[in-house]
Structures are given as structure tokens and as C-alpha cells.
Symmetry: C2
Subunit: 316 residues, 2 copies
């Protein structure tokens, strides 16, 4: 019943960090690692590996930098087969901050890239590969890419990159199942030597459904977050994905405990999930930044005006 | 781009009434009717047509009975092409309460039935049909039906019933897309002379995704509710469905206004939506009653224990 190659990839602390300046407490991150380890989750992305030359450590929490020392303290003493991943944004990472794999607790580095930056992504990912890491390239905002440009980028990734996995990233929560199928099939057809992954956003309550669709069409790397936490509408809820997958190595119960103890109180302090302005942004295939600004204003529930602001733009 | 036969069917007041004893204010129901009319929604189900001989009018609000008089007052003076529907539960409706269609503001009567009650449903639906109403049979808890029994029921519905539409109802929010496809295709293949409908529940954030799946496989009657309101996890959110459909007759904006003004304050008073015990009930293909009881207890956030209560049952 299950496909052994499937890897469940948790982004809770990394994507969730986008709503609190990466300022989760050390104890919280350790609780997440502990629960994911007990649940049998394959990977935990603990944050970004950004350069402290570019961002101030006084303005952001430690999970924006994810230095090896703090990761070592998070994982210390917890029995686990869960591998640690960090994300590297093009132009925000200093490769000198990345030691060879054998000196680091990190197993995987994921490079997030727009189609237009694919040459930079390939150079970066190859460098991390050569240092011994598992690597991915995550194609952000793929629903904005023109077909010919996407085809060329995929072709380059297949020929030139050493990445193990190429991800389809529905950055704006725009995808319906049919287009998810189209994109996953396209990537599979060009990336003959690599695995394919999927990262959904939940603007239209379709992150989990699109992840299932990706599974059906043979994506094997599946991103999710505990209780769907993540910027704006958030992501595919890890607990739903574990409920769906049949591999007996997974145990949903530690994740349920984690939600009870940590995420219910957290949700009272920071906002994510099904919120109409994020749904609208998803329908229009657009970045959530305007919706995030709206939610911080006194017009936070003025949905019609917000919706009409996109129609006006479309008519230009 | 659009399929003209598609009908959007709103169940806001009917399914939402299950969480407040059908006690919405008259003004609220009129605001819903007004918004749905302006949005171009095809049908509004305003409640149940239950018998006052069986239920006390002092214990329930008027939308449990939906007498023609109150419906006339709801719709009076509002320009509208939205048809009114009521639901009839087997054994709870007195056919004597149903006047001929030409004397009533109601256009459609939907009979909700389990597979085991299909003979009763057919008798009832034929009686309503003969009085001049559009009719449906909604097969509840279809994910619990054994295949041979479901096949026989569908065969009977095709041969013996005068219903216009047969609905697949995912009462427990258990369906994933592949099983939705299987069921819709099965119903379409047997019900050659009737339309097929889909009513999802949102336990696993899949009500909208399963509705899309049903559309892909030619279901034309699509249930939804404003902001997903409904018992427990609720239903497919109407605003998402309208955002997906391309028929220019629909306008999402009156629904957005309605959410801003009525549903955001309402959600602070009554609970529905993505709540872990409902997700767990969905995973186990079970009625939400235990989860509803849990939410009313002091163990409302004790998810692991709740999850394990289903494993124990399964091992019996």
C-alpha cells in the first residue's frame, strides 16, 4: 500500500519563522525536533542559513542563521533518524558559512530560486553538493513562470545541476489539482535522473489536496508543517499528511501531542491559516504581501475592497 | 471555459443550523438570501422541513421547520433568481406539511437517506416530485456503504425514483480525491437519466478539493456554505467554489461582504472548521459526535487520547 521512496519533509520552524522573525524559543524548536523524531518524519528544516553579514542577529531569531552550534544543541540527546535541513536563499547565503558535511549536523541544503535565477541556483547547489550535502532546488513562484522559460530551467537543472531533488513550489497558493498534475508531470518528464518534490501553500485550502495529487503523479518529497503553520495561509498540515500515508514507520501521535501543547497556544499569539484575504491573493496568483499588510491594518476584514483592488490591477 | 449545467447549491442556513439548533435570526437569514441572490447562486437551502408533531418549536429555531410563511417573509422584496430548497429527513417529515409546489415558495426538496433507507427515500421523493417540486436524494454516509448494497440502491434510484439529482454525501469528511472519483464515476455510470451532486465535509481540508474532483468527473450539483459553516468541520466554502468556477453569472463579492459583516462575528460565538478532533474523526470515517462531545468537555485539546480511542475500537 505504501511507496517506500516517499519522504516527509517538515518545514515548521523554517516556514513558520517567516511570521515571527525566526524567533521561536530554543525549547520550542527542541520540542518540534523531538516530536518529529518520534513520529518518524524524514527531514526537519530548521530555518535559513542566511549570512550574518547581511542580516542583523539582533533583529532576527537564531533560525534565520541556523549555525551548526545551535543545531547541535537542539538535537543533542534526542534519539532520532530525522535529518536536518537548512534553506539557502540566493544572494543571502555566504558559502563560506557552510562547512563540509562531515563537520556539520546538517544533512540537506535546499536552495530556493525563481526561474530567472536558475543559473545562480545551480552554481550554489553544486557547491553544497560538492561539500557532501544532499541538495534540492526549490522553484518558487512556479505558477508565474512562462512555459518556455520553465522548460529551459528544468532542462538546465537536469543537465547542469547536482541537486538530488527538484521542488515544485506553489508560493502563492494558486494551484488547483489539474495544474498541479500538469506541473508535476512536466518536471518528472524532464528531470529523468532526479526526484521531484512538492511544497504547497494553503490559501485556498488546497495544500493537502495538491500534495496528494503530487503523490499520485510520483512526487516523493513532500513538504508539510505542524498544524499548517507558515506565512499567511500556511502550508500542508503535517498531521493530515501523516494520516493519509500508509507507511507504518510514521506515527501521528507525537505530532498530535505537539499541537495540543505548543501550537494551540501559539495560534492565539500569531496568525496563519484560512483567512479570506489570503484566499483572495491565492485566487489571483499573487504574493501575500498586500494581504499581510491588510491584516495589520484597520481594514483587516474589508474583503470586497481588497478583492476589487486586484480586479483594477488586472484591467490595466 | 465553463459548464453551463453546473448549479451552485448553498446549504449555509441548513447545515449551519445543526450547530445552533436552527436558531439564526430572521435578519441573518434574509442577509444570506440577499447576498446569495446578488452572487447568482442557484439554490439556497433554508433548513429542514421537519414536523412540529415530532419536534418542539420551543426547543428549535424556525429553520428546523421552514414553514412556507416564514420563507415568504425572508424572500419578500429581494430581487432574486435563487431558488429555495428545504431538506426532508426520512421519518421526521410529515408529507401533509408539504403543499403542492404552486402554492409554495419552495422549488426543491432534498431527501437525505442512508443506503439502508433507500426504499423509504424513493417513496418520499416520488411524493414530492408528484406535488411539483424538483427533488434530490442525498445518500448520506456513502463511505460506510458496502459496494453491493450501494450498487443495488443506485440501481433502484435509477429505476424507481423520480428524483432529478442523486447526491454523493461525504458525511464524515473521509474522502480523498481518488475515492471521490471512484464514487462519482460509479454513480454517473448507473444513474444514466439523472444528474449527480456532491456534498463534502471539511474534516481533512478536502471538501473543496473533493468538490473540484466531482466537477472534473461531471457532477453538476455542488453544495457549499458561506465561510464553510456547518456542523463540526463544516463544508466546502462557497467563496472558494465561486472563485474557482468561471461562469460569469457568479459574483463572489456579495459573499465576501456577507463574511465580513456576519460570519466573522458569528465565528466568535459558534465553532466550526479545521479542528483536530474533527480531522481525526474524518481519518477514521466516523460520525463527528464523539469529537463534538470532546469539544464540549475539559479535554477539548487532548488529541492523542482521542485518537487512541479509535485505535482501540478498531482492534476489537
Amino acid at each position: 500500500m505504501f511507496r517506500e521512496k516517499i519522504k516527509v519533509f517538515d518545514c515548521t520552524v523554517r516556514d513558520g519563522g517567516l511570521i515571527n522573525d525566526h524567533d521561536f524559543s530554543f525549547e520550542f524548536v527542541r520540542a518540534v525536533y523531538s516530536a518529529l523524531s518520534a513520529a518518524g518524519v524524514d527531514y526537519m528544516e530548521i530555518g535559513y542559513r542566511n549570512s550574518k553579514k547581511l542580516f542583523s542577529a539582533s533583529e532576527y531569531g537564531p533560525w534565520k542563521f541556523c549555525e551548526d552550534d545551535i543545531i547541535n544543541r537542539v538535537i543533542e540527546g534526542i534519539p532520532s533518524k530525522t535529518k536536518i535541513s537548512v534553506m539557502a536563499d540566493i544572494g543571502r547565503v555566504d558559502p563560506a558559512d557552510v562547512k563540509p558535511k562531515k563537520e556539520s549536523p546538517v544533512s540537506m541544503i535546499r536552495v530556493a530560486s525563481y526561474v530567472k535565477d536558475i543559473d545562480k541556483a545551480i552554481r550554489l547547489v553544486n557547491e553544497f553538493h560538492d561539500k557532501g550535502y544532499e541538495t534540492t532546488v526549490n522553484i518558487m513562484a512556479i505558477t508565474k513562470a512562462l512555459d518556455n522559460e520553465l522548460n529551459e530551467a528544468l532542462d538546465q537543472l537536469e543537465r547542469e545541476s547536482k541537486a538530488d531533488v527538484i521542488y515544485v513550489v506553489d508560493s502563492f497558493g494558486f494551484l488547483y489539482q489539474e495544474t498541479t498534475e500538469f506541473l508535476i508531470k512536466k518536471v518528472k518528464s524532464i528531470l529523468k535522473t532526479k526526484e521531484v518534490g512538492f511544497h504547497g501553500h494553503n490559501n485556498q485550502q488546497l495544500a493537502f489536496a495538491n500534495t496528494i495529487e503530487a503523490i499520485i503523479h510520483n512526487a516523493n518529497y513532500l513538504d508539510a508543517t505542524v498544524y499548517g503553520i507558515g506565512r499567511a495561509a500556511g502550508n500542508c498540515p503535517l498531521e493530515l499528511l501523516l494520516g493519509f500515508l500508509k507507511n507504518p514507520k510514521f506515527d501521528i501521535r507525537p505530532v498530535l501531542d505537539l499541537i495540543s501543547k505548543e501550537f494551540i497556544p501559539l495560534r492565539d499569539k500569531i496568525e496563519w491559516g484560512y483567512i479570506i484575504p489570503y484566499a483572495i491573493a491565492g485566487m489571483f496568483n499573487t504574493h501575500p504581501k498586500e494581504a499581510i499588510a491588510l491584516r495589520e491594518s484597520d481594514k483587516k476584514e474589508d474583503y470586497r475592497e481588497f478583492y476589487e483592488s486586484f480586479i483594477d490591477v488586472e484591467e490595466e
